[in-house]
């Protein structure tokens, strides 16, 4: 990367310099063609970030068009900072999920912290107050020496940033798998609340209107974060890229939230854009591009953290906690007064011009003069080759007769409850303030978080999900299951899914096998979202998630938002009363492939993912919602990793009070391990007052949904009898202890 120079002479643009900027020869020629001359060094830097994979979506854009993005509630689909979905009564939710994978691997604390900061700004840029954060984290195997350091650092980063800004972190998921040893995933989700008539967009309208810089001073951090760090895979030189990781200041972010929300109340604010990836450059080009205008600004006015910064550095800095506002002419001083009240830096740095160009002066010289559309839309839409990977034919085959059926289930249950992917994540979420602002109705530890909408009787349910093992075995079906399961989590909490955002984490798109995985996963999300009628309103693509040629499992993480018209109709996953009956909605098939059970007991990741019958899934979800809203049931819990047995134990032990025991009496011709630990889809475990069983069964028949009463809550043990024979019998408190402590004990060890 070019070093800063005190002298004013810009480095020459040579083929080497072009290559260092991550641009191909073909791309460079295209730049020259589009602007009709050779770019100078600073301009080359601008193209380098704006045409990077991270900013331009050049490999992924054609595929993303497959996603259903419209619906009666959708006020803003993909393309803006975040999606906006109407929740009625003049209110809307604004949400998006975004990755910060590579920075978090190199510098876990700052990488994760700034991931949280960035996604929050995407939300309040739209005029919304952020009310909830979630995250989806994927680390390597616990035996990898780096995992403990990364886990501690990432959780610490999220905790320190989110807590300080006063936005609660209310849920998420954490997975561990060796495929993430060299490339962890940190996907951060934020949801905000806005009045539908107060939604702000990234616009720079009105010639002559001033452009105002708001927030932290610009420093030399994060230069080329988007182009060099996010848009290439890891190798031996990765550590050298640490200076491309930004440094977060959550205190400034908190002030920025309050300042922006105060500014948004004024009718003289025209538009606003967060300076995220590619900083001042992308925000100015995007704002002008969205409005058919141009922007002219003077870098000498930009508040700087240090002396001697070049135009190149100022334009490409990814210093955090900065925004660009356009306000009506004549209101500059009012805007600056609000900044002053909150103690933030700010300055008028330029103005909107008629000609569709961005013109930048620095120290009395014009340093950049570029037409907008080549920069914003000029990147090639790459038609990268794709081919079905070889590995699939090997891994998709699983012969169940090779797997010895265990005589009892105790050992497997204990192993599963103590497996990092299933055990309690309490050590993590206790470090997050998940209660601040008093809206969290269902705290972390249930299928979905439920947030009340302040000053209303409504609530929203939030969940994030992806089983990447399924996606590795079959990306098309794995992605569909991610959508179905995430929606099921919402339904188990009492919500109707109203929108989805996705974070598509994949390996190097230059490899045909990776592009095939990507295409299949996008098609899977598209198919499931169309079927379940859940619009995709925002998202993010993260490619190059691989190290030394080894890619992660395809990980299309989805987050679904659900609406509860009446917040009293929220439901949680844990059993409430001794004596209640336990029922299972849905059908269990003889499926072991791709399961956590197969991984833990046989150390295999093999077979096809469980079948997904979308019609059945929809019936199951609708029936569950009917039961919750009719107050028929006390609890509802999705059967997922670890199957029915783990779901039942979780319902026993995850409540805020003492653990409750349970007995299941099952009749089945299936393999016992498949029955208890298989991960058949479209199943929900419920509990209800015993007298209601017959009515519920009748309703199930009417809805044509498979349903069986399978047991009863109570006692101090967890017992499972199959066809009259005892298969599992354990003290529930002992099971709870195994489940509860693993992650914390692991994280606290000094290695």
């Amino acid at each position: 990367m070019p070093k800063s120079k005190k002298s004013e002479a810009l480095p020459e643009v040579t083929p080497d310099v072009v290559a260092q900027h991550g641009l191909t020869v073909q791309e460079y020629k295209r730049i020259v063609d589009l602007i009709g001359r050779a770019p100078n060094f600073t301009e080359l830097g601008i193209f380098s970030v704006m045409w990077s994979e991270h900013c331009s979506y050049k490999s992924s854009r054609p595929y993303l068009k497959q996603l259903p993005t419209e619906g009666p509630r959708v006020l803003q689909g993909p393309g803006e900072n975040a999606g906006v979905v109407d929740i009625g009564d003049g209110q809307a939710v604004v949400f998006k999920i975004e990755s910060h994978n590579h920075p978090s691997f190199i510098e876990p604390h700052q990488g994760a912290a700034t991931g949280v900061g960035g996604i929050m700004r995407d939300i309040f840029t739209m005029g919304a107050r952020p009310i909830a954060l979630l995250n989806s984290l994927r680390f390597g195997d616990l035996s990898d020496p780096r995992t403990r350091y990364l886990l501690n650092g990432v959780v610490d980063g999220i905790s320190s940033y989110g807590n300080c800004t006063g936005v609660p972190t209310v849920g998420g998921e954490i997975y561990f798998d060796a495929c993430y040893n060299g490339n962890i995933l940190v996907n951060a989700f934020c949801l905000g609340l806005v009045q539908t008539d107060k939604i702000f967009l990234a616009k720079a309208g009105g010639v002559g209107n001033p452009v105002i810089y708001v927030g932290a001073k610009t420093g030399r951090d994060g230069i080329h974060g988007a182009s060099l760090l996010a848009s290439s895979e890891f190798d031996e030189t990765t550590e050298d890229k640490r200076p491309t990781v930004q440094v977060g200041d959550p205190f400034t972010e908190k002030l920025l939230i309050e300042t922006c929300l105060e500014l948004f109340k004024k009718d003289w604010v025209i538009g606003v854009q967060d300076m995220g990836a590619a900083g001042l450059t992308s925000s100015s080009f995007e704002m002008a591009g969205n409005s058919g205008t141009g922007i002219e600004f003077d870098l000498s006015q930009v508040p700087l953290r240090e002396e001697g910064m070049t135009a190149y550095e100022i334009l490409l800095s990814e210093s955090q906690e900065r925004m660009l506002f356009v306000v009506k002419k004549g209101h500059e001083n009012e805007a600056l007064a609000i900044l002053d009240k909150w103690g933030l830096d700010g300055a008028v740095v330029g103005q909107v011009i008629e000609s569709p160009v961005v013109r930048i002066n620095y120290q009395g010289k014009e340093v950049v003069n570029l037409p907008i559309s080549p920069v914003v839309e000029g990147a090639l839409n790459l038609k990268r080759p794709k081919s079905k990977p070889q590995y699939l034919s090997e891994v998709q085959h699983l012969d169940l007769t090779e797997l010895a059926e265990p005589p009892r289930g105790d050992e497997a249950l204990i192993k599963l409850l103590g497996a990092p992917n299933i055990s309690s994540k309490e050590w993590v979420y206790e470090q997050y303030d998940h209660m601040v602002r008093l809206n969290t109705l269902v705290l972390p530890g249930s299928d979905a978080a439920v947030m009340r909408i302040p000053d209303s009787s409504k609530a929203v349910a939030l969940s994030v999900d992806c089983n990447s093992r399924y996606c590795y075995l079959d990306p098309f079906w794995g992605a569909q299951i991610a959508v179905a399961e995430c929606a099921r989590n919402i339904v188990c909490s009492g919500g109707t899914p109203i929108g989805l955002t996705n974070c598509l984490n994949f390996g190097n798109p230059e490899k045909p096998e990776i592009m095939w995985q990507f295409e299949q996963a996008v098609l899977g999300i598209a198919e499931a979202c169309k079927f379940f009628d859940i619009p995709v309103v925002s998202g993010n693509v993260s490619l190059y998630n691989e190290t030394k040629g080894k890619a992660i499992f395809p990980t299309p993480t989805v987050a679904v938002v659900g609406l509860l018209e009446n917040l009293e109709n929220h439901c949680t996953q844990w059993f409430k009363n001794s004596g209640d009956a336990i029922g299972l909605i849905g059908l269990t098939l003889e499926e072991i492939s791709g399961s956590e059970y197969l991984k833990q007991m046989f150390e295999r990741c093999q077979g096809k993912p469980p079948q997904l019958d979308k019609k059945q899934e929809r019936s199951v979800q609708e029936f569950c919602l009917e039961l919750i809203r009719g107050k028929w049931i006390q609890s509802a819990h999705d059967c997922s990793d670890g199957g029915m047995a783990v779901a039942a134990v979780e319902s026993c032990i995850t409540g805020p009070e003492k653990a409750l025991g349970a007995t299941l009496n099952l009749e089945s011709t299936l393999r016992k391990d498949a029955l208890l630990f298989g991960e058949s889809q479209s199943r929900i475990l419920i509990s209800f007052a015993e007298g209601k069983g017959e009515s519920i069964a009748r309703m199930a028949r009417k809805n044509e949904v498979p349903f069986a009463i399978i047991g009863r809550v109570g006692g101090s043990r967890f017992t499972v009898n199959i066809n009259g024979d005892e298969f599992i019998h354990q003290e529930i408190q002992a099971l709870k202890n195994i489940w509860k402590n693993l992650i914390g004990d692991y994280a606290r060890q000094v290695s």
Partner: protein, 229 residues
């Protein structure tokens, strides 16, 4: 009755305190801006809310104690005005010398957010007088620096004067090492000044005071305060 909620840059439980006082207890509640050093005499009591004032940079509360509003808070407290500091508010009261002792980083150096049980050790304060019948409170904590410390002689004086008001305990009320979430000396969760008109506590009573939630033990703190007039 009129009360004030102080807003420092970085306060983030200010809205929660305001909500409880204004909407649940229906008090005449006003914001007090940190740059304002005017007298607070018009208020019946003042709340310093939780959060990360000044980002907790340097040390929690260490910068806020120099803000103009704290000059007014100190004058107000010296005249007998009632001041409740919650979490970061408690840290600021300690830093500004209105309460004895210090609050250090938690034993595990991690932020902790969870409901805990506390036992009311002294009901002879305007903040806890209604806890006589119900001395064990379940109230959430959410902090990184709540490990209370005081010199031996200070602690002794506090004990003699019943200034140790809240201690972390087990659900049944036993004060034990296992129930101490952050390593606080003597399990101390909340302390008062000598005159008992200034009280700081690490748990967040405003987080268990809204009837929407099953836990409402935090109401007792606010109700005691309101009834003390």
């Amino acid at each position: 009755m009129k009360c004030g909620v102080v807003v420092f840059p970085g306060s983030n439980c200010d809205h929660d305190c305001y909500h409880i006082l204004k909407h649940i207890f229906e008090l005449d509640t006003e914001w007090v801006w940190h740059k304002d050093s005017a007298d607070l005499d018009a208020f019946d009591f003042v709340v310093l809310p939780g959060g990360f004032s000044y980002g907790d940079y340097l040390r929690a509360g260490a910068i806020s104690r120099f803000s103009p509003v704290m000059k007014a808070v100190v004058r107000y407290a010296q005249k007998g005005g009632k001041v409740l500091g919650i979490c970061n508010g408690f840290q600021i009261l300690v830093e500004s010398g209105l309460l004895p002792g210090a609050l250090m980083q938690n034993r595990w150096q991690k932020f902790i957010c969870k409901p805990v049980f506390t036992r009311v050790e002294s009901t002879d304060t305007p903040f806890t007088s209604l806890c006589r019948e119900r001395p064990i409170l379940r109230i959430p904590i959410a902090h990184h620096g709540g490990r209370y410390f005081a010199q031996e002689d200070t602690l002794k004086a506090m004990q003699d004067n019943q200034q140790i008001v809240l201690k972390y305990c087990e659900p049944g009320g036993t004060v034990s090492e296992a129930s101490n979430p952050n390593g606080s000396m003597d399990n101390i969760a909340g302390v008062a000044n000598e005159k008992k008109n200034v009280f700081g506590m690490m748990p967040h009573p405003e987080r268990s005071a809204d009837p929407l939630w099953p836990d409402q033990d935090g109401q007792l703190i606010f109700k005691s305060l309101i009834q003390s007039f």
